[in-house]
Symmetry: C3
């Protein structure tokens, strides 16, 4: 029976960024992003941008957020990142506009090839479409694409493909129903006469 | 297809407390309640009471506990709040007497109307009956009432209605069996002659 | 109906270590192990050993790791302990060689007898066999033995008995398939002529 040998694990091919940049980010992340104090979202967005993130306008970032590599992060306009969210982006994570990532959610991009003798690192991006909602304490697995306006219920574990406006729940998450959004009270009719 | 617009999100109706009070609590919560150092339960209970919580006697509060708004919190006599518990009480949370909230559990009271174009905030209280046990790393959803002596197994996600003395497990949690408690060795018989 | 009475909870029989030792460990754990700063694994392994842990060579320990009692901890050669892992070892936890405990995983050894009127503490050890992989944000329940090269998928809750090289997923986790590891490219054939 073949066994795994972590002493020969080799991720030298994975070069996520210059050492100095990563070291500085560890400090900013620990002292500002992960702080329990309510630093302004504008400050945190500005720091993320300094380190290479693309962050839209009107983004809300709550306390105790953990971002691995900001230069692999894109956040659209008016998106929200809740308290205690962990964006573990060894690979690119793209969060659309008007997305809500609720408190305690975890976005996972790293994996290992468990069929490989040295447990090779594998990474895969996450894309979250406009208007989606990742519920509190839920987990998004590597390589997942949450389509436009998907809802992931609190505490769920989601991976693979999704359908636009699908509501998913469970561990692993299953499609449960379709999300229907009411027109705004002041909206123009969709089909004008 | 209607889309969600978080730029028009409006929770002005939600007034959880005066700004000064909330700001002071953020500091006390970050420096004392959420500390990894083992400050005495009596100190933490006293601080919660100063900020409006109703906390019974004999309450045990472990390190790294996160309470959103103490003025929305009631804790009964001899209840335990474990390490890393997060009481995210945008709405009232009532914890009965002799309740154990185990380590890492999360009590969620906030929600959003995902059918609304501006993703309206919704809140709902949590009530936990006497003698209940919320297992480690489990999640209690908004509006849940855990009846007397309910058990929620570790890592479960529970919502909705429960039966007294019911044992629940899974994501979402299902009833698995009834909890039967042995009489104490020194107890008087329940039906005296 | 019998009720539970936590005011009479009695765990005096449980003597996990001298008060001074436990107090010092709380400080080292809070300031070094649980720090978000990337202290060297060698330093953290050395501190664990000073407090009685048996830690092999080549062990990797990421930031923000929480260990309850190091004197109840054994970690084999070339094992990895990921960011945010919580080893809540009221009872012995043994982690084999070449094991990966991924980020955010939780190892739980404490339990309560919910049929007892005073909610007696129960503890049970965890053993993790060589080459196993405990996925990110998964939960290992008290008394679990993960056999050699078991894989627990991210976000799962696992307990009870397992089969060697079994892959488990879900809440509660179920066996899903067998793990097959390819021979290393430079490996000698298993059966030489």
């Amino acid at each position: 029976m073949t066994t795994v040998d972590l002493s020969r694990f080799d991720n030298a091919w994975y070069r996520p960024g210059a050492t100095l940049k990563r070291t500085l980010w560890v400090l900013v992340n620990a002292w500002v992003l992960k702080s329990d104090l309510p630093y302004p979202s504008l400050l945190k967005a500005a720091l993320l941008r300094v380190f290479g993130a693309r962050v839209g306008r009107g983004v809300v970032i709550k306390p105790n957020v953990n971002v691995k590599y900001p230069w692999f992060l894109t956040v659209g306009d008016f998106a929200w990142i809740g308290e205690g969210v962990w964006i573990d982006n060894l690979a690119p994570v793209s969060i659309g506009a008007h997305v809500c990532i609720s408190q305690g959610a975890y976005l996972l991009t790293g994996n290992h090839d468990y069929t490989a003798p040295y447990f090779d690192l594998m990474i895969a991006p996450i894309e979250i479409g406009d208007g989606a909602w990742v519920g509190a304490k839920s987990i998004v697995l590597p390589g997942t694409r949450l389509e436009s306006h998907v809802v992931v219920a609190a505490g769920s574990v989601i991976g693979g493909k999704t359908e636009p406006y699908g509501i998913y729940r469970g561990c692993p998450a299953q499609w449960v129903r379709r999300r229907v959004i009411r027109p705004a009270a002041d909206a123009l009719p969709e089909t004008a006469p």
